[in-house]
């Protein structure tokens, strides 16, 4: 599947990615606010490279807010604030002088609702990362990147004959894979996924989960899911978030190997949640 990249002269960034560019994210004492409202409290964890980390927990406990703080999307909401330390492979992501645009190039995101750009064709959607960011990329290289990304997202075979048709003509599952192809086309080091399958049917969900299993070889993946079975199936590490009561900030209860969390959790809250007593 990745043979194609050998045919193309790899730029330095590509070489770095081929060599395993997935990075570690360190999170220390992170507190997240919407104005005065304290949404997430005191999160400290390590997100390991080339692993899938699942964030689980009931609705409203701050999983998505925390996820969006990793690639500096949280601050786009007016009044939103981040306190604490987030670093990508040792480099502080929130340091003064760091351009959030650069951070988002390195930490990509896939959203709950597939959101291909409606004015662009499938080809242009995948190449959007290149078109919107880089200087002029020669067509041959762009073709190569688009094909590599679509193959990487397991979508190439289905769309190779209609690359120049609009992206909105695809099914939900295909659109989500298109969004994943778009995200990996810029070769991030980490891929964040916010409930990527919640809008999809079970077959499409399975296709995405298989894809995630392949993608983790090249990227670090963090996935928010409210579907416990999905977390148990698809992830290596699971972090359980919870709320004490509505209005209170969400906090990280426990994080550990997925097997451990689901069969032998340390905290009672975790055990109650994974056995379905609440949530």
């Amino acid at each position: 599947m990745f043979k194609l990249s050998e045919d193309v002269v790899a730029e330095p960034k590509e070489q770095r990615a081929l060599a395993g560019g997935a990075k570690t994210i360190e999170v220390r004492d992170v507190n997240l606010f919407y104005g005065d409202f304290h949404a997430v409290e005191d999160v400290t964890m390590t997100i390991a490279p080339n692993k899938v980390t699942a964030l689980i927990g009931s609705s409203g406990c701050g999983k998505t807010t925390f996820l969006r703080s990793l690639n500096r999307m949280h601050e786009l909401t007016p009044g939103a604030r981040v306190d604490g330390h987030v670093s990508l492979d040792g480099e502080d992501v929130y340091a003064k002088g760091v351009d959030p645009v650069e951070v988002r190039r390195l930490i990509g995101m896939v959203f709950q609702q597939p959101n291909p750009f409606p004015t662009m064709s499938i080809y242009d959607n995948v190449a959007a990362g290149l078109n919107l960011n880089a200087r002029r990329v020669p067509k041959a290289r762009k073709d190569a990147v688009v094909e590599r990304s679509l193959r990487g997202a397991n979508l190439w075979e289905e769309v190779k004959d209609r690359l120049h048709k609009p992206g909105s003509g695809l099914s939900g599952g295909q659109q989500q894979r298109l969004c994943i192809a778009r995200a990996i086309a810029v070769e991030p080091e980490v891929l964040l996924m916010d409930e990527p399958c919640s809008a999809l049917d079970p077959l499409a969900t399975l296709a995405i989960e298989d894809l995630i299993a392949e993608l983790k070889n090249r990227y670090t993946i963090v996935i928010v899911t409210h579907n416990m079975q999905q977390a148990a199936r698809a992830s290596d590490v699971t972090a359980f978030f919870n709320l004490d009561a509505t209005g209170k900030p969400g906090h990280l209860v426990e994080v550990g190997a997925t097997n451990e969390i689901f069969t032998n959790p340390t905290e009672k809250q975790t055990e109650d949640y994974v056995s379905g007593r609440f949530g």
Binding site: N71, M73, L76, P78, V101, E102, V103, R104, R105, L106, G108, M109, V110, F111, Q113, N115, P116, F117, P118, T119, A128, G129, N131, L132, N133, S168, C179, R182, A183, V186
Partner: protein, 307 residues
């Protein structure tokens, strides 16, 4: 507090049988009466519109001939001559006004919708709203005063008319563009940000193309709104009989002022002058109609299905 059961409340009393509820003829009659009243109100509202179109068409057609479209009124005191100078003038003045208003209007809308925050944004929105209500003669006097400052009294130029029309057109473009930009869903902007796209590029390459059809429609409607303005042009572009297509030199005629002039000073051959005035009015209506049709066509062709 005792809770009343459903049957205690008279309005919700259950009919003894559904068939018995057929005696609700009173309700059906009320329905029909309201329908008639509403249809009648609509017909009433349509009467002036239809009567206007009918009258203008009836009286304007006799004035339409080849001369009307090809000749100007230079040196004409009789029945001859045409309004080609007025038609060209309208197109030039409106075109230049659009050239000024569209960039300013769209950039203003982009600022208000994408960047504006807090008090400054509220103040700007308020001023834009005020501007939409400016009487057109005031806009004309403003343009005249502005140019008089630099070029002396009595100055008349085509571009002055364009400036006056821009004052009227910009708030319309801003308002409609702002509405269209608001409709572009936020998740598209987020998708672009998540790829590491700077904000301005997101606006230029994602938001504007998605809003394109709506923006064009808004602009065309704004143009249709100002194309028939007379008062501001009377004081800025003046009245002239010969063809002038240079907005930066000399007076320029336009259809609205032409119609006014032909009616007010018909000269010896009154009927011919009146015919020309009506023909000019008909041409104006035709231009507005064409613009609206073009706006619809562009919208249908370029609209993006946003899910």
């Amino acid at each position: 507090m005792e809770s009343a059961t459903v049957t205690d409340s008279p309005g919700l009393a259950r009919p003894s049988s559904l068939l018995a509820s057929g005696a609700g003829w009173r309700r059906r009659a009320k329905d029909r009466l309201m329908t008639v009243l509403i249809a009648g109100a609509f017909a009433l509202a349509m009467i002036p519109l239809i009567s206007l179109v009918y009258e203008v068409t009836k009286r304007g057609i006799p004035g339409l001939n080849l001369d009307f479209f090809t000749e100007d009124a230079r040196g004409v005191v009789g029945e001859g001559g045409g309004a080609s100078h007025a038609i060209v003038g309208t197109l030039v003045i409106t075109g230049v006004a659009a050239l000024i208003s569209v960039p300013i209007g769209i950039m203003g809308a982009i600022y208000l919708n994408e960047y504006g925050q807090g008090r400054l944004r509220r103040a700007l929105t308020f001023f834009v709203d005020v501007m939409t209500g400016i009487p057109s003669i005031v806009a004309g006097l403003f343009a005249y005063a502005l140019f008089e400052l630099f070029l002396g009294p009595g100055i008349r130029l085509g571009v002055m008319g364009s400036v006056a029309l821009s004052v009227l057109m910009i708030p319309i473009v801003i308002r409609s563009a702002e509405e269209v930009l608001k409709i572009v869903p936020n998740h598209l902007r987020e998708a672009a940000y998540a790829l590491g796209t700077p904000k301005w590029k997101t606006i230029v390459k994602v938001v504007l193309p998605t809003a394109f059809a709506g923006l064009v429609t808004g602009v065309m409607i704004a143009i249709a709104r100002i194309v028939g303005e007379t008062a501001p042009l009377l004081v800025t572009t003046g009245v002239v009989d010969s063809m002038n297509s240079d907005p930066f030199h000399g007076r320029m005629q336009n259809l609205a002022v032409y119609a006014y002039n032909e009616y007010r000073s018909p000269g010896v051959f009154k009927q011919a002058a009146y015919d020309k005035a009506w023909a000019a009015a008909l041409t104006l209506i035709a231009i507005v109609m064409l613009l609206n049709v073009a706006a619809r066509l562009v919208y249908r062709r370029y609209k993006t299905e946003i899910r």
